[in-house]
Subunit: 463 residues, 2 copies
């Protein structure tokens, strides 16, 4: 079937190396094989045609030494030469993206979106590094084969692996989707522990080998606390680079407001999901706008806003499973694309997006002070500031309204309204996140875990 042997099959040296030894091995490999530097070159000019043939003749000997990509992605190429000689394309520097749970259905949508250029743009070549498990390794090969057959011009590297210390090497983005599903009768505390352990290990691996400015989006549930664990195990990476995905909730909330108002969904803006990606989450209709006006002015049905709206948003996944028989893989992948795009393109003036983030109290205080002194914050029903802009407990991964200049970074929005109804619900989701945090203290280096999570707050349709 013509697959290269350059990737590592199950049981090979690279994929079964223990984590600590993996790091040592990686360094030695790096010394021997400088990554992406002096690769043999295939040019597209006429003169270089002969080189192609020579390249073809020598490629078998060269491949294992020069690249460790899957199948056709182990072939040699040179982006710079492509740009210079073909004049058809000016390529940006390769962006390297790791995806965990890469054999799952969400990834099966996401990987092809990343490869198509839909996310990072048509001039941005990418490398995809697929992280799986021993159980899913064959499926990963299948995914890589489909990526080969898709002939995406922007997709320059695909590799697969089971060791995060290998897969996360020098990555710019980590999209962490993989998580164990909750078994029958399993307590949420047990799930937190099992998946928390995975995210602790992955945090350590990111800390050891990823780009120092890697952006991490955690999708695997419970995603806020998994993101917290991951962040705490990666002290050398800025804390604000870690995100928990609440974008699907935001998208669903926008859609429901649009439906209720009888407008197209592109008219809904400033939709915040506050707090945890669980049933305590708070879709915020106080700050949401419809065609630039407060949602509450457009939708007069307060009872619907206060009661049905949140339930409808939260039950969406459950209804979908009933209808479709599967969980919402496609729209989750779309929301991951949205989450990335919100960080790499400037936020539209006045708008914001939701992301589960951990904030830096000092920096925010400075921003808030500036906003107040410049008169940028107006019409606030009440501002809660006990050390940070919203008065939310620090050191959790909490979904909040963010804005980006498109540089991968973001700031929290400070022009936010608050009222008692919203505040009470924020305190409830905050309490849950604090309880979850106590439950995983053994994984964040904060002492002995104490678990008290009485309610099942998993969103319907999620595992």
């Amino acid at each position: 079937m013509g697959l290269s042997t350059a990737y590592s099959p199950p049981g090979s040296r690279l994929v079964t190396t223990p984590l600590a030894a993996g790091a040592a091995l990686r360094r030695s490999v790096q010394l021997l094989l400088p990554r992406r530097a002096p690769l043999a070159t295939v040019r597209c000019s006429v003169d270089a045609a002969k080189q192609v043939q020579e390249g073809a003749a020598t490629v078998a000997a060269e491949k294992p030494a020069s690249r460790k990509g899957f199948g056709v992605f182990s072939t040699i190429y040179d982006l710079k030469a492509d740009s210079e000689h073909c004049k058809s394309k000016s390529w940006k520097k390769l962006v390297s993206i790791a995806v965990s749970g890469a054999a799952g259905m969400i990834s099966n949508h996401l990987l092809f979106k990343l490869a198509s250029g839909e996310v990072f743009g048509q001039d941005q070549p990418i490398a995809l590094k697929l992280l799986g498990s021993e159980r899913s390794f064959q499926a990963l090969e299948g995914v890589a084969m489909e990526l080969e057959d898709s002939l995406y011009p922007l997709l320059r590297e695909v590799s697969i692996g089971m060791d995060p210390y290998e897969v996360f090497e020098d990555i710019d983005w980590a999209l962490l989707i993989g998580a164990k599903p909750r078994g029958p009768g399993m307590e949420r505390a047990a799930l937190l522990d099992i998946n928390g352990q995975i995210y602790a290990d992955q945090g350590k691996a990111l800390n050891a080998v990823a780009s120092r400015n890697v952006k991490v989006i955690v999708v695997g549930n419970p995603c806020n606390t998994n993101a917290l664990i991951c962040m705490k195990n990666a002290p050398n990476i800025p804390a604000k680079n870690f995100h928990a995905l609440t974008r699907l909730d935001e998208n669903r909330a926008k859609c429901q407001l649009a439906l209720k108002a009888g407008v197209f969904y592109d008219k809904v803006s400033n939709m915040t999901i506050w707090g945890n990606h669980s049933t305590t989450q708070v879709p915020d209709f106080l700050n949401a706008k419809i065609d630039g006006r407060p949602a509450k002015e457009v939708i007069k049905d307060t009872k619907w806003l206060e009661e049905e709206f949140t339930l409808t948003v939260q039950n969406r996944g459950g209804v979908l499973i009933q209808k479709w028989g599967r969980s919402s893989a496609a729209s989750t992948a779309v929301s991951i694309v949205d989450a990335i795009r919100s960080l790499v393109t400037p936020t539209p003036e006045g708008d914001w997006f939701s992301s589960g983030v951990s904030f830096d109290p000092f920096k925010l205080f400075v921003v808030l002070f500036w906003c107040f002194s410049e008169g940028k914050i107006e019409n606030k029903t009440q501002v809660y500031t006990t050390g940070n802009p919203y008065g939310i407990a620090e050191d959790t991964v909490f979904s909040m309204p963010c804005r980006s200049k498109g540089d991968g970074d973001y700031e929290l929005a400070t022009d936010v309204l608050m009222d008692d109804f919203l505040w009470e619900r924020i305190k409830k989701t905050e309490a849950e996140l604090i309880a979850e945090k106590k439950c995983v203290a053994h994984l964040t280096g904060e002492g002995i875990a104490f678990c008290d999570l009485p309610e099942d707050t998993m969103l319907p349709g999620e595992m």
Copy 2:
């Protein structure tokens, strides 16, 4: 859960109407409700904000009468007003796309690609019309819900239905993926009959209600003969508008040549798949080029080219099922995107793409004559011209090399090399297509069917 009641649930008047009565009903509906004309308007200017509110108040009464979209897609909007007042976007005229088998896995990838703008571009609003069956209707609702939650700005309409006479109304594209899978022990002849009947009905429906210039891409197997049946039942639509998908085969063939030559796949061009989408198909390495040079000059391994290459391409789907446990939904969807894009964007100079098409002998003869008289055809090993450029039996749907100006139309490439090895294999796949055609004569209006299909030529991994 906030779904509109504007779509037709199973058992409603619209979806269970018999086909003939459906057409009559459609006409009466059309008289009452001019489509996309005088819709109520939502503007994005500040002045118009009040209209939003009024719109919201009246939308419940208006919706069932003015639109029959699913959920949020039954909301009112006006593309022209959006362009004029927002100044953010200049919208093209809406393109209406029907997808059959819309609840299946291929569609689950394809629909989101269409909605994202990846296929038709970022200034092209689209309407998606999902065709399913009674069995899949709930799943269709699930798909439509996920499309709602994806907030694609270009996706302006989504509707679902079970009656092709409803779903195909005024469509510009028909992507026909739906087909019955082959049951255990079922003969290919029986499959041809069952699926042929579906495609005969859909051809009649296209003939009755689709745009007179609708482009039809048939994916459901056996796709060549299904496309032929569909075409024969739609005499009012140009025959050359019907395509059978062989693009996944082409993409796989390009990838394998690239892998063998040790080059990146974007260096492979002029890859033809000749004939049937079955094991008699002919991936053409005689005309294929690698970095502008004949593939046979770059890859000297003739044994590999003549024996392994074709088998590897054909077995790809089977290997994938072994690895991944599912058929190649994602890469099939990518190849459908490629097939569409090849028709709506100009073919790169000198290159071509493969599509299963039925050719107009007279027009081709004229083109060929012109090419010869202008000296455009050179280096031909041999030209077979018994009434058409390749000498292939007319009146089948046969995969051949095509070029497009990007206007949705195409011409067959005439600068094609032929040798005995290629010709013999073309004759074999031609013989199979002629046999399949005889097998469905009762569905194409050509008399009594006579079926003699001894071999099972279904591609591994396909149903």
